[in-house]
Amino acid sequence: MHKGKGMKFVGDSRITADRTSKVPKDYSEYPGRTEAFWPNFLLKEWLAGAVFLVGFLCLVLAHPSPLEGMADPTDAAYIPLPDWYFLFLYELLKYQFASGDWTILGIIVIPGLAFGGLLIAPFLDNGPGRRPRQRPIAVGMMLLALASVIWLTYSSAAHVDWEERAEQNKPIPPGESVVDQNHPGFAAYESSCLGCHGGELEGGAGPTLVGTEHSKEEIMDIAVNGIGAMPADQFQGSDEELEQLADFIIETSEAAAEQE
């Protein structure tokens, strides 16, 4: 058969002018018996696909897709984390040689070399041998890259308490907020406490106030004098406001505890 420019077609169609016999592609170079793609081989592929699908659906049913609270750009306590397959890049930028003055190394040079190398791998590793032993450099570099990606991902993920993270960032159902913003104590809560204890008393930098065991007097005392890691003088206002604040915290805490 003619190739390239020598090929003649009927009109502007893709039918070749010279009739070619429809001999199947010769697989004699490969040992063993061949098998028809349709339906023999495809059936096996689809059986594998069906098993895979069942496993996948089990995963989906067992683990509902996570959803955190609505994006709140003012939430300073939030520690961002990318999806797991970007963790290795995220971790790489923590190293000294990849941050600060060397940021360009971390964000462009290293990933660029790695992914660029991956892209043109066939031209770098252009020997005739295909077995891994015949091309130790290429295989070695790939193993090295793989090991470092796995190590970076592991060291990034190992410090994270995933369950606590999910617990802390649970979405608040809209319209089910227990916070009464018209309560006389809310203004004081908003200005003095909300930053650490959260808009729904759910906690953040400070512990949750839902279901607190402190009495009203104790809360008034803590708000002024602090407790544990909480510094003193968080609340600055009149005694009346202080009392309203304590009332607000106790009422809201009880309402929230009831809801759960």
Binding site: T34, F86, I107
Partner: protein, 224 residues
């Protein structure tokens, strides 16, 4: 009846060769797990495609309930998860599929790499495959923002900060992605939505088509 319809169409546009391209060819024994179980490594590419199909389907259905708008995005996702029957499952398919597709893609890439299957004459197909990998990572990155929860927002902010540090074009690049020089907000969300739903899938389809055409052209690489 079916035969008649087939003949009528075949008479006009000669579809038999197309059918032959797709289905009517022989598969060598060395890729067949029924002969050597170790040949299951050849399944990874097909399974990756299968997950891509899952992603496309679940994604199409998810857009029935999703709005790319900072006021409503989270609300609509929350509504989908809590109020709509099977909504959580469909979102789960898309969420977990995104992870599974990266895993399968990685396994497929490693299979091709360690078997040296990218060597002449298959260099081009390897490069197309690596581009598909990049597109997939881009889909993962842009899709992460869409639910507009805290995780999405802050991870995207970090991603955009990284883009900003690229020398010379960094700030322009960040503005191009975010739609605004300083705010990660309404314009960022619509941009990411467009990229996630139209631009990258378009690129993905084109690359996948080339990938498959090249596989059929060149056949499966021989045994080691």
């Amino acid at each position: 009846m079916l035969q008649k319809i087939y003949d009528w169409i075949d008479d006009r546009i000669d579809i038999t060769p197309i059918w032959r391209d797709i289905a009517d060819h022989e598969v060598p024994e060395h890729v067949n797990p029924a002969h050597h179980f170790s040949a299951f490594v050849y399944c990874f590419g097909g399974l990756t495609f299968f997950v891509v199909v899952i992603q496309i389907l679940s994604g199409m259905f998810l857009t029935m309930y999703y709005v790319p708008d900072i006021e409503n995005a989270w609300q609509s996702v929350y509504y989908l998860q809590t109020e709509v029957a099977h909504g959580q499952i469909v979102r789960g398919m898309h969420h977990w599929g995104a992870s599974v597709v990266v895993v399968m893609l990685l396994l497929h890439t490693l299979r091709v790499f360690f078997q040296g299957a990218y060597k002449k004459p298959r260099e081009l197909n390897w490069m197309v495959g690596v581009l598909i990998f990049f597109v997939m990572l881009g889909l993962g990155f842009t899709g992460y923002l869409l639910p507009w929860d805290n995780k999405a927002y802050f991870a995207t902010q970090v991603g955009l900060e990284i883009a900003e540090q690229v020398p010379f074009i960094g700030e322009a690049l960040k503005t191009l992605l975010a739609g605004d020089a300083t705010i990660v907000g309404a314009q960022t969300l619509t941009r990411f939505f467009a990229i996630h739903v139209f631009f990258l899938p378009g690129a993905l389809f084109a690359l996948l088509a080339i990938h498959f055409i090249l596989i059929r052209r060149q056949g499966i690489s021989g045994p080691l």
